[in-house]
Every structure is written in structure tokens, then in C-alpha cells.
């Protein structure tokens, strides 16, 4: 029998339905793979073998009766940001020490309702604040990819670094992830996986630990475009518990794979051509443009003039919302508590000890920009610029552009600790191509499209119209057909 962990979700689904193997066997294969790899990769914070085995058993019972949902028996990893009932949920932060929610997030509940099996909780940047998975209270995740010229550990990107690394290293068939400024797409690009950030409102945010509520959105990381289509279909839903979830039918994304993209207008924004961008990124972009042309799409040069302001806007809006959302961690209702002589000391001691440095920095910035006298100069100004960023996209879509093609990241994966002495801004620049999409609430997909000269995966990004994820899946499938698949060489 082939190694079951190398099967895609679509292949595993076929094998389970055809009774080539059982859900229990599939789950055991993954549990063994995690046991063998996790010391080196640190992708999982917590493994849940008991849940995995009992869910797989239930899946086998349903499959035996010819029943079962769209993900019946498929083993998934869950980012630690999603509330999972009775199971460790800490957003990779010390301040949620010991937290086991009494409720389940809507997205994960949707997955379990469709028959998926939980393998465990995946590492991430603390509260999803980071681009390298190095801010986790559980230590950095190591990218399963290594350069051809060095054995040095590389970061998997962030904040969904555990999700991306686990998918790339065959430690789960697919993973949930979240994206506030690029946290699905950047790690997908760094690990040769496919990541989809759907339109804001497509997935319920209920039960997902909040970072920046107007930007946060859940999505899948998978090994190919088809698997992303399958997972997103299950994750997405309107939800009474999240008033920002949108009541629009969720299409069958898988059904559009392979359809023609002939005549589609693909925008190429000139503002994404940054000074000092490595040649390999520019070359990758040109290759992607050529693939689009070969498939019959029309390439149109477009302008998104406020692109350069997206990142500074983000670093006002996101910390401001984070400072409000993270006010709830007070040492009283859940998680860690550090004693103090009075209430204020208890709060201050708890938060100083429970939050990591990057989280503290962002809370401080957010508190500052929201404080008396500064609200208009910073937050309101940023929200005005955000309107302009969104209007940039609305204009090009009104002109008939179907989707936009850009690089996903300005570089390939970098070394663990390589940014240790860099200023915060240098780390933030990782999200320069992805953050506009969150500012405008649009859907975005990152997929592997080539390798750097030293053998590391590079990704292209597709940006779509609101709620038109189907076009991204069509185009992403075209790129995948041309680019092929990319897998790391096992060293762990």
C-alpha cells in the first residue's frame, strides 16, 4: 500500500469510498507521521490522538453504511486560533494558558459535520501576529523545505506557519488557517502549498480568537487547488452567531476546476513591481503572465495607486482592533493570572507575563493610535485611506477585470532567527503583496508556481472580485496545471 499520508484529500476521499483503506488506517498513518516529525518541525502544539481515533471510527461506521459527508474520514490539522471544545485553544499564547473552550468554532463544527477527523492543534504566531511563526509561545515552526545550498532551518512563514508546514510535510491532509494581513497566503507561498483567503464574510468568525475583526478571515491550506476547493466549501457558511458572515450560497468550488479561462481579463498592477524585488520574483510573475496568456486570458496592465499605503494603513487598523480585542485577557475570566496587590496590578502583571513581545508592541501601538487626541489623526485617517484602497480595486473591476495576478511574497522563505535584529517594519514587509486584499475584504489565493535558484518554493497570488472565489479556483487550477506540484525532500 502506498503511504497514505501522501494522498491528497480528493485521492483519500476516493480511497475511503472505494474501501481501499479505512478512516482508522488513514488516521493512524498521520498520527505516526506526526510522532516521527514533530520534534523537528514543531508544527503541532497538541496532538489529539483520542479524538482522531474516535472520529475515524465513527467515519468508518458511516462509510460502511454508504453514508458520510464530503470530508468523511479526512484527517485535518486545526490552527490553534480555532476554539475546539474541550481541547487546548491558546492562539499559541501564554496568556490563554490551560484554556479549553466549552464551545466549538463554527468553521471547525462545519468540518466535523462533514465527517472530518481532528489530528491536533497547529502552531502559529502568537495571536496570529507575525510573518514567520517565530512569535509563538511554543517556539518556531521549522519549514520542511531546505535550500539546496544549506541545511539551515527556514521559517514556514506566518501566522499560519504550523498549518502550512504540516500540510507540506504530510502531517495532515489539509489544515484550517486564518488570514488578517497575509497569514494564509504568505506561509502557503513559503511551503509550496495552496492557501485561500476567501472574501470577508464568507466564513464565520465565531469561535476564532479575534485579532483584527474587520480583517480576520478563515480559509484552507492544502496540497493542491482541488483540495482547497473541497475544504473551503465545507468551512464556509452563513452563521447566526457572526453578523458579518454573509448570506450568499456557497458554490461547489470543485465543480469549476478545469473550466476555460479563455477571454478572462487578468489585471497586472504596476504598483506591485517594487524596487529591490529579487529577479526570481519578477521572473516568476512573468512566467505566470505567460501561462495566463497561453490559457487564452487577456493580460491588462492596471494601476492600484494606493498600494504603497496598504501596509502603513494596516499597521494602524490591525493594532487598534487588536488592542480592543485583547483587552479581554485580564487574568480573571480565563487563562493565566499573575497575582497583584490590587486589580490594576493583577491586570498589568498578568498581561506583562502572558503576552509575548510582538503582541505587547501591537497592543501598545493600538492603544496609542486610539487614545484621546490621536483617534482622528491615526485610526480615522487610516480608515479613510482604506476606503481609497478598496476604491482602487472597485475601479479596475468595474473596468471589466476578472482577477489580478501578483507575486505572493517579495522573497522565498528566510532563515529561523534571520530577522532577529531587524526592525519590526522589515518583518512587516513580508505582507506587502497580500495586505491590500484584507484591507479591501477581497478573496485571494496563493499557489506554488516555481522554485527559487536555491530550490525554495515561490508563489503567485490571484486576487478576485468579492465573493467570486470560483474565478480564483479556475485560474489557480490553470497555474497549477502549468507549474506542477512541489514537495520538499524529507530530512526530518
Amino acid at each position: 500500500m502506498t503511504d497514505l499520508t501522501t494522498l491528497t484529500i480528493a485521492q483519500a476521499r476516493e480511497g475511503l469510498r472505494g474501501k481501499s483503506f479505512t478512516a482508522a488506517e488513514l488516521a493512524e498513518a498521520y498520527l505516526a507521521a506526526i510522532d516521527a516529525a514533530n520534534d523537528k518541525l514543531n508544527a503541532y502544539i497538541v496532538e489529539t490522538p483520542e479524538q482522531a481515533r474516535s472520529m475515524a471510527k465513527a467515519s468508518d461506521a458511516r462509510l460502511a453504511k454508504g453514508e458520510g459527508g464530503s470530508l468523511e474520514g479526512i484527517p485535518l490539522g486545526i490552527k490553534d486560533l480555532f476554539a475546539t471544545e474541550g481541547v487546548h485553544t491558546q492562539a499559541a499564547s501564554g496568556i490563554l494558558h490551560g484554556f479549553k473552550p466549552r464551545y466549538e468554532s463554527t468553521v471547525t463544527q462545519n468540518l466535523w459535520d462533514d465527517g472530518a477527523v481532528m489530528l491536533g492543534k497547529l502552531n502559529m504566531d502568537e495571536f496570529a501576529m507575525g510573518s514567520s511563526n517565530e512569535t509563538s509561545a511554543y517556539g518556531p515552526v521549522v519549514n520542511p523545505w531546505r535550500s539546496t545550498t544549506s541545511n539551515a532551518d527556514l521559517v514556514p512563514g506566518g501566522s499560519s506557519g504550523g498549518s502550512a508546514a504540516a500540510v507540506a510535510a504530510w502531517l495532515c491532509a489539509g489544515a484550517t488557517a486564518t488570514d488578517t494581513g497575509g497569514s494564509i497566503r504568505q506561509p502557503a507561498a513559503f511551503t509550496g502549498t495552496v492557501g485561500v483567503k476567501p472574501t470577508y464574510g464568507r466564513c464565520s468568525r465565531w469561535g476564532i480568537v479575534a485579532f483584527a475583526s474587520s480583517l480576520d478571515q478563515a480559509g484552507p491550506i492544502t496540497r493542491d487547488v482541488r483540495d482547497a476547493a473541497i475544504l473551503l466549501k465545507s468551512m464556509a457558511s452563513v452563521d447566526k452567531k457572526d453578523t458579518t458572515s454573509v448570506d450568499i450560497p456557497v458554490p461547489d468550488y470543485e465543480a469549476v476546476l478545469g473550466s476555460s479561462v479563455k477571454g478572462m481579463k487578468i489585471g497586472v498592477p504596476k504598483e506591485y513591481r517594487m524596487d529591490g524585488m529579487p529577479d526570481e520574483i519578477e521572473a516568476l510573475w512573468q512566467t505566470g503572465i505567460a501561462w495566463m496568456r497561453d490559457a487564452g486570458a487577456e493580460i491588462v496592465d492596471i494601476s492600484l495607486p494606493h498600494t504603497k499605503y496598504a501596509l502603513p494603513t494596516y499597521y494602524i487598523v490591525a493594532p487598534a482592533e487588536a488592542s480592543s480585542n485583547l483587552a479581554r485577557y485580564d487574568g480573571v475570566r480565563y487563562g493565566k493570572r499573575e497575582p497583584g496587590e490590587d486589580m490594576v496590578a493583577l491586570y498589568e502583571n498578568t498581561r506583562a507575563s502572558g503576552f509575548g513581545q510582538e503582541v505587547q508592541r501591537r497592543i501598545m501601538i493600538g492603544t496609542y493610535v486610539l487614545s484621546a487626541g490621536y483617534y482622528d489623526a491615526y485610526y480615522k485617517k487610516a480608515q479613510r485611506v482604506r476606503t481609497l484602497i478598496k476604491q482602487d480595486f472597485e475601479k479596475v473591476y468595474a473596468d471589466g477585470i476578472d482577477a489580478i495576478l501578483t507575486p505572493a511574497t517579495p522573497s522565498a522563505a528566510f532563515g529561523v532567527n534571520a530577522m532577529a535584529t531587524a526592525s519590526p517594519i522589515e518583518m512587516y514587509l513580508n505582507d506587502i503583496f497580500t495586505v491590500t486584499v484584507n484591507m479591501a475584504g477581497l478573496p485571494g489565493m496563493a499557489g506554488p508556481s516555481g522554485l527559487s535558484p536555491d530550490g525554495l518554493p515561490l508563489g503567485l497570488q490571484l486576487i478576485g472580485r468579492p465573493f467570486d472565489e470560483e474565478t480564483l479556483f479556475k485560474l489557480g487550477h490553470v497555474i497549477e496545471q502549468q507549474a506542477g506540484h512541489f514537495s520538499p525532500k524529507r530530512w526530518w
Partner: protein
């Protein structure tokens, strides 16, 4: 329960004023500069204890970020509405009826200290 609407609101008695800041001119070196007293005040507003040896590094980091976001000053936003919702949606309404509740054990289950379904905190009233 008293805790249900608890918000660790910023203390209205603590003002962040005055802080050295001028928003003009738009060019030249960073015009915003946070001093160490401001860092202490923000840390207190944010309810994060900041030891003395962390003040200066934090001050530098905040100034780096503020200098970075300052480029927004050059964008003309006259007459531009601030974004309030990224996707145009109509707020859904539902009957004003209890849909959840009577789960005090669940509510306090993760509390570091609780007794009889109450959260326990240090004495706040003398």
C-alpha cells in the same frame, strides 16, 4: 452576572496629554516622537506592566512604527468616508429573546479562580 458586561475600559482619569507631536510638515525627518513618559502612560492604559529596562527599546520600536505609518499624511483624504464595513451588508435583526444562557458552570470553567460560579478577584472595595 456583573462580569458579563465587564470591559477593562481605559481609566478616564489617565490622560495621554500632552505628547510631543506635530503632524506637519509632511516631508523631512519623522515628526512624531514618543517619549519615555508617554510609553509609560500607554503601557498603563494598555494594562501592561513595563519594567524600566523595557521602556527605551519599546520607545524606539513604537517610534519606528509611527514613522512608518506617518506616510499616510501625504494621502489626500478630503471628502473620503472612513471605512466602517469592508463588505456592504445590512445588519440582520432577530427577535429580542434569550438564545443562550443558564450555563454559569461553563462560563467560569476556565477561570483561574472561581467560587460558587463567581469569578474571584483581589479585594476592590475597602
Amino acid at each position: 452576572m456583573w462580569d458579563a458586561r465587564y470591559q477593562p475600559a481605559t481609566n478616564p482619569l489617565v490622560f495621554l496629554w500632552p505628547v510631543t507631536m506635530s503632524t506637519r510638515p509632511n516631508t523631512g525627518p519623522p515628526t512624531v516622537s514618543v517619549d519615555s513618559d508617554t510609553v509609560r502612560r500607554i503601557a498603563h492604559l494598555a494594562r501592561i506592566r513595563l519594567d524600566e529596562d523595557r521602556i527605551e527599546p519599546m520607545r524606539e520600536e513604537l517610534n519606528t512604527i509611527l514613522a512608518f505609518v506617518e506616510q499616510l499624511e501625504e494621502v489626500n483624504t478630503d471628502g473620503v468616508e472612513p471605512m466602517t464595513s469592508v463588505v456592504a451588508t445590512k445588519m440582520r435583526l432577530r427577535p429580542d429573546a434569550v438564545t443562550d444562557g443558564n450555563i454559569p458552570h461553563d462560563v467560569v470553567a476556565n477561570a483561574p479562580a472561581s467560587e460558587d460560579d463567581f469569578f474571584m478577584v483581589p479585594k476592590v472595595v475597602e
